[in-house]
């Protein structure tokens, strides 16, 4: 008969012979297998000092990007919050005052911006929904905390530092191909979250 794997074993009910009955050969065989593992390479990764290499497109802790002048890119449109399947994102919008142009790129900005890292499933839909290239998932990890409240990250933890050399590199997730892709007018988030679709949905609900 054709076998699917080469590990197939025919089971038989034949009487055990003496060597099998006293088990000692089997015991010695087993012990030689375990002792051979003493000299094998250890599989352990000493975590805090040593990290397993992550994929270049790893989806870890979020970052809110600044533009080249150091102004926050986020315009508090709320598309990320809408796209979020885990409802982890919430924000409070505010209007930019005159003289704050160096701080915020758009006329409207997020005064407060929260991501609950315990709710977040790191799917990356916020990033996909963002029309301003403001939010990205990075290859950094969310640090462990003692209290649940500490996992609700505010702008202090999410916005990248203003210094040029401390900016978070997201080029791995923002490749030219991705940028090209995001420009397509018929892109999913452009259709799904366009004001037209939303007002249509609201009409349907009424």
């Amino acid at each position: 008969m054709l076998t699917l794997t080469n590990r197939k074993k025919v089971v038989s009910n034949k009487e055990q012979n003496l060597a099998e009955k006293i088990y000692l050969p089997a015991v010695i065989k087993g012990m030689s297998i375990t002792i051979s593992h003493l000299f094998k390479k250890k599989a352990t990764i000493q975590y805090p000092e040593e990290e397993r290499p992550r994929a270049p497109v790893y989806r870890g802790k979020h970052v809110l990007k600044r533009d080249e002048n150091g102004a926050e890119r986020c315009t508090a449109c709320g598309l990320c919050a809408l796209a979020c399947p885990a409802e982890a994102i919430t924000m409070v919008a505010a209007e930019r005052k005159p003289g704050e142009e160096h701080l915020y790129r758009e006329e409207k900005y997020a005064k407060e911006y929260y991501i609950n890292m315990l709710r977040c499933i790191f799917c990356g839909l916020c990033e996909e929904a963002c029309p301003k290239e403001a939010i990205f998932l990075t290859d950094r990890l969310v640090e462990p905390e003692f209290w649940r409240e500490d996992f609700i990250y505010g702008k202090d933890k999410l916005v990248e530092p203003i210094e040029k050399d401390k900016r978070i590199d997201v080029s791995k997730r923002q490749t030219p191909a991705v940028l090209e892709f995001k420009k397509i007018p018929g892109l999913r988030h452009n259709i799904l979250y366009s004001p037209k679709t939303i007002s249509n949905k609201k009409k349907q609900n009424h």
Binding site: M31, T34, I35, H37, K40, K41, K42, T44
Partner: protein, 352 residues
């Protein structure tokens, strides 16, 4: 004379006590390390360099944990159980000869706390009392699981003691009819180690020793995965620690007994030639210390074999355990005894 005798014996007691505890403590670490190595892991390595402070951290943790004595338990017996188990485990080290006698200030000093002429019987007796530690602990907990665990433990230990005793009888016959461990070790000095004369006896003794010390594959009394800990279900804090710790001491002592009875203790091949080549006088301290070091190497090899077996073989089922003990080990040890008697009779060492 008496004061120097007391000083020697008391210091020897302290040293044996400290070494037993030290080896037991570091066995717990080495057990975890060894298990890790056999499973392609590294094991505890964060507490101190290479994890050497891990036993201290474990001990400290056990001391500072909350100590719960169940309301329904018999408090006196509940405390007596682990104490008895620990005391008997430590008492067994008394009759073991750790090295050759040496002469110091014209006095002959033995590296053995006491050389009683029924040393082996003393060992068996003390080990049997150790069973009471388990039984009392399990019974005093007033808990079904603890009681069942204690029953399993005590029935196992009692069953395997019989085969062990018969193996020892065969050994004594072939070793010239002495019950003193010191004399058995000394008589292996000139000839071969006893394992050459008693290979089956040694194998059976080794299996029984595994069962006596509740080591895998005979660790049914504990069975972490099945019996929620067996007889020490209700124990917490250092009382649990004493039970676990005493098991490692038992392992150390049974390794010591096996190396003494079957592998010549502090003797090793070509010992006298090597001592002569080093220019050491008979009765010098160096000879005693070299012998003791060799003895400890043997003991450590045995402890490693115990661990190696634990991390290889799966646990027996209880009926398999009883079958093995009563239907295979006891008849085999009796057969071994009969063969030994016949051979020794033919050799003219015993007369009926």
């Amino acid at each position: 004379m008496l004061t120097s005798f007391l000083i020697v014996k008391i210091s020897l007691c302290v040293v044996v006590f400290a070494i037993s505890l030290g080896i037991a403590a570091y066995s717990t670490l080495w057990e975890r390390k060894f298990a890790a190595f056999l499973q392609d892991r590294i094991g505890p390595n964060r507490t101190g360099p290479g994890g050497v402070l891990q036993p201290l951290a474990d001990g400290g943790k056990l001391f500072f944990k909350e100590e719960i004595i169940p309301d329904v338990s018999n408090k006196f017996l509940f405390i007596l159980g682990p104490s008895l188990f620990m005391i008997t485990a430590l008492m067994t080290g008394v009759v073991i000869p750790w090295g050759k006698d040496f002469i110091w200030n014209g006095q002959r000093i033995a590296l053995q706390i006491t050389d009683i002429n029924v040393g082996i019987l003393y060992l068996l007796g003390v080990v049997s009392i150790g069973v009471y530690g388990i039984m009392i602990g399990g019974w005093a907990s007033n808990n079904k699981y603890a009681l069942l665990g204690a029953l399993r433990a005590s029935s196992q230990m009692i069953s395997y003691e019989i085969a062990m005793g018969i193996c020892i009888i065969a050994l004594i016959i072939s070793a010239g009819g002495t019950l003193s461990i010191k004399e058995i070790v000394e008589q292996q000095d000139a000839g071969y180690a006893n394992v050459v004369y008693q290979p089956i006896g040694f194998l059976l003794f080794f299996i029984c020793a595994l069962a006596e010390t509740n080591r895998a594959p005979f660790d049914l009394p504990e069975t972490e995965s099945e019996l929620v800990g067996g007889y020490h279900t209700e124990y917490s804090s250092m009382k649990l620690g004493l039970y676990l710790f005493a098991e490692y001491i038992n392992m150390f002592i049974s390794s010591a007994v096996m190396s003494a009875l079957y592998f010549g203790g502090y003797n090793f091949p070509f010992a006298s030639e090597i001592y002569a080549a080093l220019g050491l006088q008979e009765g010098s301290l160096a000879i005693s210390l070299i012998g003791a070091a060799v003895y400890f190497i043997k003991i450590i090899i045995f402890i490693n074999v115990f661990m190696w077996i634990r991390w290889t073989l799966p646990r027996f089922r209880f009926d398999q355990l009883m079958n093995l003990g009563w239907r295979y080990l006891i008849p085999l040890s009796l057969l071994n005894l009969v063969i030994t008697i016949v051979i020794e009779y033919i050799r003219g060492n015993i007369n009926i």
